[in-house]
Symmetry: C3
């Protein structure tokens, strides 16, 4: 069986937004007990990650690290017409993930105790971001 | 239903080659309308990415960024017998992706407007690269 | 058909452990001939990678590279109560992979000649790490 749903997430700025609850709700409603849940973000300047969700400092530190690793306005970049954050956003997306697959067991995504699912907006301005959730199994 | 096909791509040097059209052709021919399309590259010195495919400067900037992030001939490396690009190619592969999964809807990969699928050769010399495409769904 | 199994791997310290043989054993026992094998690690401070498995120097160099890219005890980090390796471990996990999908053909994972599956412990101390293996296909 395959169930496919669409999630729309509105970001406000460069930020991580946890979407674990929405994904778990879609999996529960799918009627699939055992299988996989696949998430795909239809953009090249926002990405999907799993991150520790107990201490908000982890998200803050991860954000600070990536800001330093991929500097906005890097003089290396020539694709700059959409702003200093645009090419950096593309690089950040490639270094993280556009898709995630999670095991489904007992009708929910079987995550570790501290694993949360996040959408990561890499642009300075918020956007309406599209994620397709595909659940398949039995 | 599961359909599995093989793609062979010949690279000429360190470069990105867009394979979106070939992948869409395989998905269309598979007869699967809804599900997922999985791509896997059978090598440790070439990888798969999704990249903005409207402005070639994005690929150029991404390449320049990765060349700086993972320097060829890094004195840190001791695995050097195959050339200064070899160990860098392994690192570049781990930092990007050996597999991608894409949602299939209406008999094609449902990509974002600017998302293209690329094979990224990380060695200086071209190679014949093998990609397995597995489509499953209904 | 969907088959889901659990792997438990005990790490001793920050290290890579090859798990290719265990995964191939699970795939062979599943009875699935063609499809996909999905691996998921239920932790945010250990990850999964594919790495060249012929020359151990490749793993050594990859480890040295990541140690330099994500410095332990980075003064940027404020999430430090669990030790200097803790936040670095979260970053290292995000920059590598929490899940891998591999094509299954002829009842085994169809890997490249030099591709091995590794669990990568990012903490200094060993842990008991949980990996879920989900195989689906025909």
């Amino acid at each position: 069986m395959v169930v496919q749903e669409r999630l729309e997430i509105t970001t406000r700025n460069r930020e991580m937004i946890e979407i674990t609850a929405q994904v778990q709700g879609i999996v529960a409603a799918s009627g699939i007990k055992t299988g996989l849940c696949h998430l795909f973000i239809h953009h090249t300047s926002a990405s999907l990650i799993l991150c520790e969700n107990a201490d908000p400092d982890v998200q803050r530190d991860l954000a600070a690290y990536l800001n330093r690793l991929v500097p906005d306005g890097d003089p290396l970049f020539i694709h700059t017409q959409e702003g200093v954050d645009d090419m950096a956003a593309h690089v950040r997306t490639v270094l993280t993930h556009s898709d995630l697959s999670l095991p489904v067991a007992d009708s929910c995504c079987s995550l570790g105790t501290w694993q949360g699912i996040y959408i990561w907006e890499h642009r300075y301005l918020g956007h309406r971001r599209r994620v397709t959730v595909t659940i398949y199994g039995e």
